[in-house]
Amino acid sequence: MKVLLRSVVVIAVSLVASMSATAAPPALPGDSVYQVEASVVDQEGRAYAWQALRGRPQVVSMFYAHCHLMCPLIIASGKSLQNSLDPHQRDGLGFVSISLDPARDTPAALLDVAQVHRLDDHWRLLRPRDADVRTLAAALGIRYRAQPDGTFNHTSVLILLDRDGRIVARSEVTDLTPDPRFTATVREYLTGASASGSD
């Protein structure tokens, strides 16, 4: 019964969603990371579906706010990448950092990170639902493990997604600045994406 009720709700929600769109969006590619369902809240406290990020290219990573070594590196590396772009490219690229630690990374804690690192409004720091952290990590090929002391071991990467959520490139973060090859790939991709029209 509960299941039936749930599916009715799901159908109702998706009907509303599809009606509110003026035109049906093209089908999501099968290998899009937006194929997984997940709910997130950003640093401003706005709640939305993970799939709502579809529509423009994004550089995605996973981190946690209480991390003192690698995570500031991940954010610094993303910022450095952003600063290396020309203004037009910068406007077309979003940055998404997803928390591995939703228990502690409240929107307020994430807003604090955004302010400390002076992140502009292209950045979204996301707190997933507890149950969705693993699902998002699996979709992104990011591995992590909670340690007994409250820290996390995790893969430190920046991942470039196209506007439909397909992985274009990924780069391991080892420094305050990203791998120059990754930066070059992002630039090339953004130039190609804007040249290929504005759909």
Partner: protein, 246 residues
């Protein structure tokens, strides 16, 4: 075709055991895991939780696919399952544990019942029990029998096999089972990302090792899971769900 119709009728007529029921409370406690992370001592504290008494069956998974058609074999996106997904349907035995399911599918199934996949430590904790002991692993004869896990000769594969001390069945059956944190079960030598030139390593981690090299059955299980991608499917890999105790 006939087989397919009969299968469908059996599925419709079968009394579908609600997957939201059938969970067994596990008190938890200190536990010596066979798996060590980052050179730790393998000592874990397993918090109280609940685990399904049986692996999810073909019939139960079919019910999920009917209410969540995006998980049908011909609709599932390539991110979420490989081409082997549900490849054995519709000839599968409806009462058998479902196999040919990806981690993503198992994850979505459990979430649909407000449950989750068990963690490895939880799974290992429950699997350490035999019918009369919470931890039978020091019994060499019992441990020897676990070497058949994942094969038709597994001790819990025969019909009428006893539930274990916790009232949980099939932990040492003919099918392996996904765990929620299976992606942590990987050592340094992992090269899954090699084709992309990525090393996919943890920061600061030195990988995992085994507390007890005699625990061959566990080693085999971990080796198998660690070779999987979350979209991978296997003919003898299924799952069961668990729930945290509030």
């Amino acid at each position: 075709m006939l087989a397919a119709s009969i299968f469908a009728i059996v599925l419709l007529a079968g009394t579908s055991p609600a997957a939201s029921d059938g969970f067994v409370a596990i008190a938890g406690g200190p536990f010596q895991s066979t798996v060590r992370y980052d050179g730790d001592d393998g000592k874990r504290s397993v918090a109280a939780f609940a685990i399904a008494s049986h692996a999810v069956t073909v019939r139960e998974f079919d019910g999920f696919v009917r209410t969540h058609p995006q998980w049908a074999r011909d609709r599932v996106p390539s991110l979420l399952a490989d081409s082997g997904y549900l490849a054995n349907w519709p000839s599968a035995d409806a009462d058998a544990p479902v196999t040919h399911v990806s981690w993503f599918a198992a994850d979505a199934y459990c979430k649909s019942f407000d449950a989750r996949l068990p963690d490895w430590a939880e799974w290992e904790y429950v699997a350490a029990a035999d019918a009369t002991r919470t931890d039978a692993r020091s019994d060499v004869a019992w441990r020897g029998r676990t070497f058949q896990d994942g094969t038709p000769r597994a001790m819990d594969a025969r019909s009428g096999a006893n539930a274990n001390f916790h009232g949980v069945s099939g932990m040492h059956g003919a099918t392996w089972e996904w765990v929620g944190d299976y992606a942590t079960l990987m050592g340094d030598a992992d090269k899954r990302g090699a084709e992309n030139g990525d090393r996919l390593q943890f920061c600061g981690a030195t990988g995992l090792s085994f507390a007890n090299r005699d625990d061959y059955a566990t080693l085999k299980r971990v080796a198998l899971l660690s070779a999987m991608e979350p979209r991978s499917t296997l003919g003898n890999l299924g799952f069961r769900c668990a729930r945290s105790t509030p």
